[in-house]
Symmetry: C2
Subunit: 401 residues, 2 copies
């Protein structure tokens, strides 16, 4: 059991209020700084983002936008329309621009697709990213496919295909790797699913964490975007926030059948990219940037693997298998996740996501992001100390505070 001083208990109360206000998501660090100034965040391990990619982007941004004075254009002028940015991506990704929809973050595309194209029934694997069920319109039936704890919350593809055939939904969602556990479904299994489920109108595959997954020892990028022409019911969504470390920019894309892109653009989404996002998308498609990005992507994957190995050595926690840049951790021995999260934050300045609000998880869970190597080391040593505290007799514990 984790103990708190009276001062700390006050902060715990405030933390709970802040979390409730943010609904099924975590309050942002900016909101945090404003509303809970007594807590100083040293490591944001709630935040799913490659810090080395952020550094790379800032290096380009400094050189090409700030030093050149182009920043004024970027702030002052209207960015290009959706279709213009789609064209830039199309050439790079070798996809017809008519199949590309640019989003103000992937979440705008989740919203657009689910509001416009999901009419009757949606099947969602849980645990999941909550917006997938929160954004459905009134009258749409939501069927939850509870991933099995015994299978480490990974998808049993055969059972899933049978379930979809039984329920006959118009929309299914697969986040790959999944959030919040990082469970990965191999491309071969996804293709089997696509082959067997051609009757489903919308198969949403969310590849927001796909840059951290791999099927070969060289960590080669995997993706399904090229299959949209072959499977017209496939919709691939991609946030750029995580792998490129630019959540503040709000950039994402969706690859989907041309009729869907046309329908969306026909009555909306014209100028939904800002100047920073347009610069990012142009950079994303450049060979010089792509080569450097590949280096920081692989570097981060390798460090994340080290981080996970270290976590697996810690006592009283269970680390679930992950192919993403985060891990789902189950706290054992009666440790409560809200208390553990509060202690890490108050005593160590480490901001971690509690998973209490995640439906489909049975137990005390937290989700921990991999950060820079230095930050990961700090997380490991703090977790160690925090977990050790749990085992200390009350007397010693109280004198520590």
């Amino acid at each position: 059991m984790i103990k708190f001083t009276n001062e700390e208990l006050k902060i715990v109360k405030k933390l709970e209020i802040l979390k409730n206000e943010a609904g099924s998501h975590s309050p942002s660090v900016i909101t945090f700084k404003q509303k809970l100034p007594e807590v100083s965040i040293r490591v944001d391990a709630c935040f799913l983002s490659n810090p080395y990619a952020t550094e790379l982007f800032i290096e380009y941004f400094n050189k090409e936008i700030l030093s050149s004075g182009k920043i004024r254009d970027l702030l002052e002028s209207y960015p290009s329309q959706n279709g213009v940015i789609a064209e830039i991506l199309a050439a790079f990704m070798n996809i017809n621009p008519k199949n590309i929809f640019i989003g103000n973050g992937a979440i705008e595309i989740i919203q657009a697709v689910i509001h416009n194209f999901t009419e009757k029934k949606i099947i969602i694997n849980i645990p999941t990213f909550s917006s997938y069920y929160e954004y459905v319109k009134d009258g749409v039936e939501v069927v939850f496919n509870e991933l099995s704890k015994e299978d480490h919350y990974t998808l049993d593809i055969g059972g899933y295909i049978s379930l979809v055939k039984k329920h006959q939904p118009d929309t299914i969602v697969l986040i790959n790797p999944n959030n919040p556990n990082g469970g990965y479904t191999k491309i071969a299994d996804v293709q089997r699913m696509l082959d067997e489920l051609s009757f489903v109108k919308n198969i949403l595959i969310d590849e927001s964490f796909i840059h951290f997954a791999y099927e070969s020892e060289t960590y080669k990028l995997v993706s399904l975007t090229h299959l949209v022409e072959r499977y017209p019911n496939l919709i691939v969504l991609k946030s750029m926030s995580k792998d490129f470390g630019v959540a503040g920019i709000r950039a994402g894309y969706g690859i989907m059948r041309a009729e869907y892109v046309a329908a969306l653009l026909n009555n909306g989404y014209l100028w939904n990219s800002n100047g920073l996002a347009e610069y990012f998308f142009r950079l994303y498609t450049r060979r010089d940037f792509a080569l450097k990005y590949e280096q920081v992507r692989v570097k981060y994957i390798m460090e994340t693997l080290d981080f996970i190995r270290e976590l697996q050595q810690l006592p009283w926690i269970k680390v679930y298998p992950s192919m993403a840049n985060f891990v789902l951790i189950e706290l054992e021995e009666g440790i409560r996740s809200t208390e553990f999260v509060a202690k890490l934050l108050i005593s160590y300045g480490i901001y971690v996501r509690t998973c209490d609000d995640k439906i489909g998880l049975k137990g005390q869970f937290i989700r921990l992001a991999s950060r820079s190597r230095q930050e990961n080391e700090y997380i490991i040593s703090s977790m160690k100390a925090c977990l050790a505290m749990n085992r200390m007799p009350d007397l010693i514990h109280e004198s520590v505070n």
Copy 2:
């Protein structure tokens, strides 16, 4: 008649293609640079934006974000959620935060409101900003109220109220001042309308250009936002792009009844602000910024008045009355607007909006934005030369080229 060399004619053709691709809006300057590099834009008089406000914003941005190194946070981290930013605005605007919806540009709010709350019939004054009729859902009847050329395209409030009573729409739209002509409806008239039209479910007032309008000699700001509590059917929309000169940031807000805000946030729009927009909104509510902004707002209004007076002196054009930062100009003596726009662009690098695609305008029209004093002077002298060319005999004209 305006003449072109063969080289120029090729550019004119490309211009037409570019304009067609952009639909009922103008291609952005970035798109322009990319697709028509042979034309160099010296003054973007298509662009409705206060350049002095842009300078003020950049001054703050340099000092507070770039020099301090906070730029990394802004690019890397998730911005605050919609409701958190609404709270910041609420305190400044003295409006309940439950009535504030933050948009990724005003256009996102136009789309959200019209998609979600307009069910049957909408009345739109024309000429107008095209998204208002383009974004209506299938099955919604659009009634155009054609503003009268004889009345200089200003709104006859009495006639308008009668028309709305006759048609019984669920939504009406008033852009005030109107785009593309700048026609202004006084607050007293709008209030009369609100009093008489309580049966209309949604009265949309678009105040995107309201900072350029005034009813007193001190140019004091006018606005209807405070009336939302009194008239629950009033929805005030506001783009920040024009008056604050930050179109690249994508920032806007809507003031509307709490049920509408709740309905929108209930299934979407959670992280629709980017890091730059959040910084802008926080700045917008600060007294030090507000005081400086007021100075550049009034400065720009006064220069715009000078600009309009100069334009009124030019031959062969008719300048329509405007309370915005642009004027609608009718070309006379057989001058064609596409040709005039092409000539200004090719020979003088001045980018002006043709109004050929604006329904409800009868004649050859362009819309001309007020820019900095220096740019306005250049626009005037170039217009003069361009108009004079129209009167030159063909022989002389050809030898000039």
